[in-house]
Symmetry: C2
């Protein structure tokens, strides 16, 4: 009897479709996740109206990316569409709502990666680019390079026909107040919403291709041309069809030192961890052990999503073709 | 009889010391490796005098680093000492001998990492720093950041009391001629010695700590503020006492896309490969498949060294406390 049960169990396991298999005629899974930064985000720290505004813009970005996937578009186009909306919102620390550096200017970083080809593009320290994610994508598609920085990156943008915007496009009163507070050395306030915030998106398209994108204004009051993890392939952004696509947000230096995004990919490929286990291991284990705060969003080829953070909150959203649609903050 | 042999074999295996164990009273293994760039370096391409000059400076750097280790110094001090000598030599594409960018200036990148703490420092696009590796180390030790770029990085250098040098310190006739040639679009010449060159060192000290350092002038005729893999932790440089220390040289964009240095570390940690296997897998496999040229030097905690390249040559050297001392080019 026990032997029969064991036999039937083995047969059932052998016959079970793999996690990502689909029934005949069913469309392949599509999936997207986004984030809008992680940090000390507690229920008391926002009014209901503020919370509603965040949820609305997160939802718009999530749905814009999902619509691209649903109409058969590529994961690259989906993550670009989602990140562009978050960059255009004044609420998030990227594009329009970027934080101010010590010198009172907005220095923007972004990166994008194609999991199918391992091609990637990134920009660091640009100050006149409305949508840094678009420029990162141009670097990927129209240069032989991966990472362009500063004035040189803007020269490339001009050569590609991109219009520059004046620096005052990025002025928001709230970010200016955060800089003033940070300048007076109030360290706790520095950890409040948006100090570390970054936006990002990861997606799986119908062709089974993964992509990841990240964009940020960096740290309030940052100095000396500091570059964080967002434009660093392997640290803040990574995508490889053989494992997963990841976008990170948090205290960038720690994500660089642990090569956080690539570490998650490696744990899946070489230690056989599932996506959620790999993300947890890095965010709650390796990063935390050296003092790193923040989180990641990730998606694998089966359309599984991980939304992992070790801070009190992370602005986030996930949607897939199985009907899941969620927006979260705390 | 067979059973007895098998039994003795098992006992012998169980009693055998692990690879890195030492006999009682013997000093722990120390080991260092350096590189001075990889590329189309064939026997016909250099005169005997030129070859002798390269060998001499590689030997000086190797021995300077080894002397630090032998006198009980740290692997961090050893790799810094070795890289500083290669930066001061006009022969290598780093520091003094850096190649020229499209605009006719020398933009230098460097990074360093401590395998014991996973602390790291890096600079990108500096133009007035005699020894960028020293500045990368200051970033690691005296800032909360990992990567500083451009003028901001030089502001930090000044605040730390480092003297800047005028740009003409980096003028060498040979590099200027290479720029002229590259500007005329002779693509083959672009692949000659020094176009991609970079210098680096990895070491294991008596305390069992690993460190890695890399420094470069980037690509001849580079434009748009291009940053390669050398200042990118995980791509051109990585060190982790749990696996190995790595410094890379080659077509940087491919090393960024494969996160080459961290990939070698991950293959050791998570797939259980030996150092040499992991380096070979990345340099001859993963990198080559997407079109990446170059090589890596690496050392593990047992003092094993890997010198792996997929180009015709790589300037390199290795020395350890077992009496090995070798300099190689082809």
């Amino acid at each position: 009897m026990l032997r029969d049960t064991a036999f039937l169990l083995v047969v059932a396991i052998l016959l079970a479709p793999p996690e990502h298999a689909m029934a005949a005629g069913e469309a392949p899974m599509i999936s997207i996740a986004i984030h809008g930064g992680a940090g000390v985000i507690t229920r008391g720290s926002m009014t209901r109206d503020e919370e509603e505004a965040y949820r609305k813009d997160l939802g718009r970005a999530l749905d814009a990316g999902y619509d691209v996937l649903e109409s058969g578009g590529s994961s690259l186009d989906a993550v670009t569409a989602a990140v562009r909306i978050l960059e255009d919102s004044p609420l998030f620390n990227a594009g329009r709502g970027a934080v101010f550096s010590h010198e009172g200017i907005n220095e923007l970083d972004a990166s994008i990666m194609d999991g199918r080809t391992l091609e990637a593009g990134a920009v660091a320290g640009v100050t006149h680019i409305r949508n840094p994610i678009d420029l990162a994508r141009l670097v990927m598609e129209r240069s032989q390079h991966v990472l362009l920085a500063g004035e040189g990156a803007e020269e490339f943008a001009l050569e590609q026909g991109m219009e520059l915007v004046p620096q005052n496009y990025f002025f928001t009163e709230r970010r200016w107040q955060q800089l003033e507070k940070a300048r007076t050395g109030d360290r706790y306030s520095a950890a409040e919403i948006g100090y570390y915030g970054t936006v990002g998106a990861v997606a799986l398209d119908r062709q089974g291709n993964l992509a990841a994108a990240t964009s940020t204004g960096g740290m309030t009051n940052k100095r000396w041309g500091r570059i964080g993890d967002s434009p660093i392939i392997g640290a803040g952004t990574y995508a490889d069809n053989d494992s997963c696509a990841i976008s990170a947000t948090g205290s960038g230096e720690f994500f660089i030192r642990t090569v956080a995004a690539h570490e998650i990919s490696a744990l899946m490929k070489y230690r056989g961890l599932a996506l959620g286990e790999a993300a947890r291991e890095v965010v709650q284990g390796r990063l935390k052990r050296i003092g790193g705060d923040g989180g990641v969003i990730a998606v694998d080829r089966a359309g599984n999503v991980a939304l992992e953070f070790n801070t009190e909150g992370m602005f986030r959203g996930a949607r897939d073709s199985k009907g899941r649609r969620e927006i979260g903050i705390y």
